[in-house]
Symmetry: C2
């Protein structure tokens, strides 16, 4: 029921235009993106749980908390506008107003978002000048330009779009996101902007995005740190004239599609994690509850010891079991089975007897599946992370100066 | 009131003998230690919170939970005897029994402890043969030998002892510990064995060690992982004939001394952390509550981003503030002040204006003090950690194989 579009991006969605340009906040790379919906869109979103929240995040969060439709999202990279106090808030508001005037819409119809350096005031003259130069377009390349302009230390832009067949016709969902270089010079920001041409009331859109984020972006980890600027936004502009008005079958189909798209985006972020050489899926199965499964998986994807072992292609099941032991869940370690790929490293009863050379061969691959069977119940989950290389330390040790 | 003894160790305590030898579990380094009290000692301890617990830990924990005096602690390095199932438990019991017979005491008077590889059965014949060769001595060098024999990837042995003047005379406290190379081949184990010749009833000893550990070993972090074998044990053998029977002034004096000794041991562990090039103290001051202060400090010492920045001598206050923001406590980021050494990097109101070259100079030193003033209340705390270098990744990537 979900069909991904080749070269798809946020502009694959009906009524969505975009642009990405260089305005001078970075040295030479694209640093200003605009996403625009021809018709006012219902909007929903989730935001960082960090108590330190950037100025643009406060503004966008406030708009999304109200019953306010949105037409545009203005995003800059190169400067996070975080820890910038009242001046930072004023700067964010000024770019928001300038952008709204330029587009001929209301200030409250423009969300703002920033990523980059913390603690330095935004050069808003550059942003304003940039806005006047922006040429919105509904082409794929415009969407990809926007995806490029929101990057910090990511090594490639991330765009996805899919078609979903509902009972009354087809809708599209498209998105761009950036991740988890935790660098330049302070930390990464995880940003994702998603649009759909389905017509979805705000409260349903909010449920949909929360559920999708919970099963995708909230299940990835690069280094366990959370940024001041993280946000995921869903705009539903209704341009397809196909409505999802209640939690019916169409809602369920759309939910699965949105979750799948978010999962693709989240996985792309992990793959492009700082210094990452491998993509790791951690499946925790037969847990007592979903909460237990998630706690165990979270502990494993956040363990530096597990991530360095995978980097070194070392079949170190003791570190995996110990990470689960540190997760706080109740389980019997002697019942646990741990596999990499299809190879059991540990069987119940602490029975470990495997061919190291086969394990090595599996662990030398670029994508590693770890399965942890707790043998305690029926619940399971999968989280994603990357390995931990010397490159991560190098990138992060000498960044700001 | 506390006087540290030059070259002091666990055998500086009256009635305590020790030994450390090579029995063959490691390739050539000392790997078997015995601590022995001439008179039965009251014993107290704290143990890892990891759900995966090693066989010797289960045995020792059980003894300490009972009203049982103890005479000896047998410790091996090179093999953790963790995740070894029933055979592991039998092996630990057999070494415990053999050791007791050899010393002419009861099995329940012997604690056992192990550190090293996970998931491999202990070669108990080597340990038994080792026990028969052990020559206990009350010399300083015997204490240092024991300190050496409990190491895994630590780069030097850690011993401390002090004299404490109480109202009726002098008592001594001495200890050996090992840390936080998180390596060989699975993870580090934090072990500390402390003895005192004061006479202290079991319940008071338990309170004393809990309080001391809480303010020392529980405030350090190398990589946020907790081992399957961690334990801290306090033996009080009464050989000084000086008693602490209630929570009087002597109790308070002893409490301060024990806490100080534990702090010294904890700091030594951090300084010898894997790949560590710098020692970092993180003081969180003017917090609303002690819990808040501890949560904030814990988030900072566990942040890979902060630790890589310090490694790179980068005055990246944004990462420090963001780590506090991730700690879950309630605070106003705009009220925060952050200093390294005496240099403010951030003043309240997001006012950051410092001389980068002075900051660099401070951060290039071997010991770094970070102070975070929350300006919310009266509580404060200090935690300790080390920086995060490429060496950590190298050590941990290729260990087991």
């Amino acid at each position: 029921m979900i069909e991904y579009l080749e070269n798809g991006t946020i502009t694959s969605v009906k009524g969505i235009k975009a642009a990405g340009i260089f305005c001078g906040l970075k040295k030479q790379k694209k640093d200003l993106a605009l996403i625009y919906s021809e018709s006012p869109a219902n909007v929903a979103g989730t935001f960082t749980l960090n108590k330190v929240q950037a100025a643009p995040l406060l503004i966008s969060k406030d708009i999304i908390s109200k019953d306010q439709k949105v037409r545009a999202i203005l995003i800059n990279s190169g400067n996070a506008n975080a820890c910038t106090g009242e001046k930072g808030l004023n700067n964010a508001t000024e770019t928001q107003e300038f952008c709204a005037r330029h587009l001929g819409i209301e200030k409250e119809e423009v969300l703002v978002s920033s990523t980059g350096v913390i603690g330095i005031q935004l050069d808003i003259e550059k942003i304003k000048e940039g806005i006047t130069k922006i040429q919105l377009s509904e082409s794929n390349s415009a969407g990809h330009d926007a995806a490029e302009a929101i990057l910090t230390t990511d090594t490639y832009p991330k765009s996805f779009a899919c078609k979903v067949q509902l009972s009354n016709g087809e809708v599209r969902i498209g998105g761009i996101c950036k991740g988890s270089g935790m660098i330049m010079p302070n930390m990464a920001t995880m940003l994702a902007f998603i649009a759909t041409d389905a017509e979805i009331p705000k409260h349903l859109a909010q449920n949909l995005i929360l559920e999708a984020v919970n099963k995708s972006f909230n299940r990835i980890s690069v280094d366990g740190d959370t940024s001041t600027n993280d946000m995921v936004v869903l705009m539903a502009n209704g341009a397809s004239k196909i409505s999802i008005n209640e939690e019916n079958n169409d809602y369920k189909i759309f939910k699965v599609a949105l979750r799948d798209l978010c999962k693709k985006m989240a996985m792309a972020i992990v793959k492009d994690g700082e210094g990452a050489t491998k993509f790791i899926s951690v499946k925790v199965a037969s847990a007592k509850s979903e909460t237990d499964a998630d706690s165990a998986a979270k502990a494993v994807v956040n363990s530096s010891l597990v991530k360095t072992a995978i980097y070194g292609a070392d079949a170190n099941w003791g570190r995996i079991l110990s990470a689960v032991g540190n997760s706080g869940i109740n389980f019997s370690p002697e019942k646990v089975m741990i596999k990499v790929g299809e190879l059991p490293l540990l069987n119940p009863g602490y029975d470990s007897n495997f061919d190291e050379s086969i394990a090595k061969e599996i662990l030398l691959q670029k994508e590693i599946d770890i399965t942890i069977e707790l043998n305690e119940g029926e619940s399971s989950t999968t989280w994603w992370t990357c390995d931990f290389s010397e490159q991560y330390v190098k990138i992060n040790a000498n960044y700001r100066t």
